[in-house]
Amino acid sequence: MQIDAELQHKLIGTVARCVIDHAEELTALDQAIGDGDHGINMKRGFDAVLADLDKTSALPVNEALKAVGMALVMKVGGASGPLYGTLFMTLGKAFPELPTRAGLAEAFSAAVDAVKMRGKSDVKMKTMLDVLVPVLETLRRSGGDLYAELRATAQWAAEATVPMQAVRGRASFLGARSVGHMDPGARSSWLMVEAVAGVLEGAQSMTGTDKDRAISR
């Protein structure tokens, strides 16, 4: 399966719409433990991504990822802009010539490391990294149904942020009171992983390519 313009259009569009459709939920989660703007901010960023979708999806995949990242950096308006922007921009920079599973895992690993640097954060701090890091591990290690495993990982990982106490971000102001709510950034990361896995799974079943070839040209 090739990541052609059509698939790229579908991937970016589905991720954007999925986040936009859940903006109210993200805001509600952020009202519980943050400043209540995650949904509004992410919607503003992904509205900008959608507005440029036709232009962006015609670009080579690495340039398209950088363009998505830059749109998020410029339009989100909160810390999640540079954080998700850095994720997409680094993924674009590191995107392999031949998108094999191992190559993609490498690139995603570089992107996750860049997010850690940008947010001066790591796992167990109740952030998006608590989803991104386990998802990276699954991408590296999955031996079975990759897309189902990615979805399952993103879900349990996001749910695992509920009992955590926030160490970074506005939620850390609440101390122990941040316990008992899912981290909004973990939820938005889960949404994106689910959207990407769904599109790639659909593309794979349409072309009938086997799993190992599903993400290689």
């Binding site: 400043d35 703007d37 509004i40 901010n41 503003r44 950096v73 410029m74 339009k75 989100v76 308006g77 909160g78 810390a79 999640s80 802009g81 540079p82 954080l83 922007g85 850095t86 940008r118 947010g119 971000g169 506005r170």
Partner: protein, 138 residues
């Protein structure tokens, strides 16, 4: 460090104030101006792209441009997103400018006033930053 009104000297460090709220940023800038007059380049920005509370990388870049000084620019920020977006903005600057911009770990209003006063005395960027950051322990 007496308060004085002088012509903006490009030799003095510039100050940028970044808040989630345009009202807070403007108010803090007013306080700095009252202290130091036109002795330093000063710019502020606040609010998300398209309005509402938040911070905006493009607006931060433009504020750095307005407050630019060969001696450098010190940025004062309020909460997390303002810091992350300011760091992002600094990374997007041309390489030769990146080294001459610092983000102060200090409360935005008091830090801006202290940094502005220090800058108006012709201090270096590092001196301006450390004066603002003395406020951390208080």
């Amino acid at each position: 460090m007496t308060s004085h009104k002088a012509k903006i000297s490009s030799g003095n460090v510039g100050i940028v104030i970044v808040s989630h709220s345009p009202d807070v940023a403007r108010g803090a800038a007013d306080m700095v101006r009252q202290m130091v007059g036109d002795a330093i380049p000063l710019a502020w920005c606040g609010g998300a792209p398209g309005g509402g509370l938040g911070t905006n990388v493009e607006a931060i870049l433009s504020a750095i441009e307005r407050a630019w000084s060969e001696a450098g620019v010190a940025i004062l920020v309020d909460l997390g997103g303002a810091e992350t977006n300011s760091e992002m903005a600094v990374e997007l600057l041309p390489e030769e400018r990146r080294e001459r911009v610092v983000i102060c770990d200090a409360p935005v209003v008091e830090g801006a006033v202290m940094a502005g006063t220090e800058a108006s005395a012709g201090s270096t960027l590092e001196q301006v930053r450390s004066t603002a950051e003395e406020l951390r322990a208080r």
